[in-house]
Amino acid sequence: MTHSNKEINRLTPTNEDTVGPYYPPSLCENNSMDMTSIRSGIVFKPLGEKITIKGCVKDIDGKLSNGCLLEFWQPNSQGVYYRADTESHEMVDPWFTGYTRHRTKDGNFSLTTIKPGTADGRAPNITVTIFSDGIMRVVTQLFFADEKSNRDDPLLLSIPEELRERLMINKISDHKYEIEIIMAGKNETPFFDDLLS
């Protein structure tokens, strides 16, 4: 089959659309911004360093972007993602799924998680999906500024050097980090295209 036939045989995808301002917060109420505690009331905890990342999403004027739906996923401290192709992997951490979502009312968020390990030749990172009023879904990955492996990461190397620092989560004290995501304009966060890629 030729490439062009393959194109013709595909169905036309439904267009993505904006989430709008009224995504019901109750739909995420089973999700917690503490990924280290997926089950309450048990003594087991996930392996690795527990960290808290305080962040915010800002618009072109530097104002907080209210009402964004944020989704995060990452590998565990051993660098293994929990997903369809790894469910029986021996290094899957049963106490850590590495996925959560949250609707931020005012544009700020605080994510408690385990510092991700190195997966598949990648520097430690957390994937973030942002749904917001006025835009279609955008995705990016956030890295840790103090990681030496950043210099060899294929995603960081794929963008101009001067933009890489915009994807860095900065350490502010032991186990505490911060990040500012800027949707548009000056110091705009680099976003990636997972529909065309």
């Binding site: 089959m1 393959k6 045989n9 169905l11 995808p13 439904t14 267009n15 993505e16 659309d17 904006t18 989430v19 709008g20 301002p21 009224y22 995504y23 109750s26 739909l27 072109i60 004027d61 972007s65 009402g67 739906l69 996923w73 993602y81 997903r83 192709d85 996925y99 979502r101 009312k105 997966a119 990648r122 990172n125 994937t127 999906t129 917001s132 009023d133 006025g134 835009i135 279609m136 879904r137 955008v138 995705v139 990461d153 294929p154 995603l155 190397l157 794929s158 963008i159 101009p160 949707m183 548009a184 705009e188 966060t189 976003f191 990636f192 295209d193 997972d194 529909l195 065309l196 890629s197």
Partner: protein, 226 residues
């Protein structure tokens, strides 16, 4: 060397879109990093079947006012393969265009019998159905007289699929001035429900809305079609 993907468009006359749409082109993801972008939400979908009937807040309570409609269709990837057991979240305005969301300050009437929030799952063939009240249009920008056409929000989470979209209604006079609809161009037809007759006598009509999730994500961990 950087390779670029889409340039996201700014919805005309939409203030939030202007403030939040990235101005730079999206970056293509290099192959060595592609897999890590495939979303995977753990299967945590414990839902009550009654959540698919949004025409009542709970079974046995009064029917919400307005036109009761059925919406049904099939969830698929670009190759027509069904997306099974996916969580479909639905939210829509009442017949007056008002939401029950506590941040809706429009002052439009609230129907005490309409929550406007529902959930359902696609079955093993990818088919889904839910019932709701046809939403009203509402004046989104009183300063320039721009309306939002009637629309139903849908969010799909299933395996490695992720989509948030809206279903619009055929031939609505407000459709063509909607900012996001303008960005969709001719492909807007993919987001319009197709009307059909429902034989059950307590529903006015149905809309068929097949949802096709594009890109590599939906079937990334299944066999590639080459």
């Amino acid at each position: 060397m950087t390779k670029y993907g889409r340039q996201l468009g700014i919805g005309p006359t939409d203030n939030t879109s202007n403030e939040r749409t990235p101005r730079n082109k999206l970056n293509l993801i290099p192959e060595a990093a592609r897999k890590s972008f495939v979303p995977y939400a753990p299967g945590i979908h414990g839902i009550n079947l009654a959540e698919a009937d949004m025409t009542r807040i709970a079974p046995g309570r009064p029917r919400a006012s307005g036109e009761a409609i059925k919406v049904s269709g099939k969830l698929m990837d670009e190759y027509g393969r069904p997306i099974k057991n996916a969580l479909i979240e639905i939210w829509n305005a009442n017949q007056h265009g008002g939401y029950t969301h506590d941040e809706d300050h429009s002052g439009l009437p609230i129907d005490q019998n309409f929550l406007g929030i529902g959930r359902t799952l696609s079955n093993s063939d990818g088919n889904y159905e839910f019932w709701t009240i046809k939403p009203g249009a509402y004046l989104a920008r009183p300063d320039i007289g721009r309306w939002r056409p009637p629309h139903i929000h849908v969010s799909i989470i299933g395996g490695s699929s992720r989509l948030i979209s809206q279903m619009y209604f055929p031939n609505d006079p407000h459709n063509d001035k909607d900012p996001m609809r303008i960005l969709m161009g001719d492909n807007f037809k993919a987001n319009i429900g197709k009307k059909y007759n429902v034989t059950a006598n307590d529903f006015d009509c149905g809309y068929n809305f097949d949802i096709i999730i594009g890109g590599k994500n939906p079937t990334f961990f299944e066999n590639d079609i080459t």
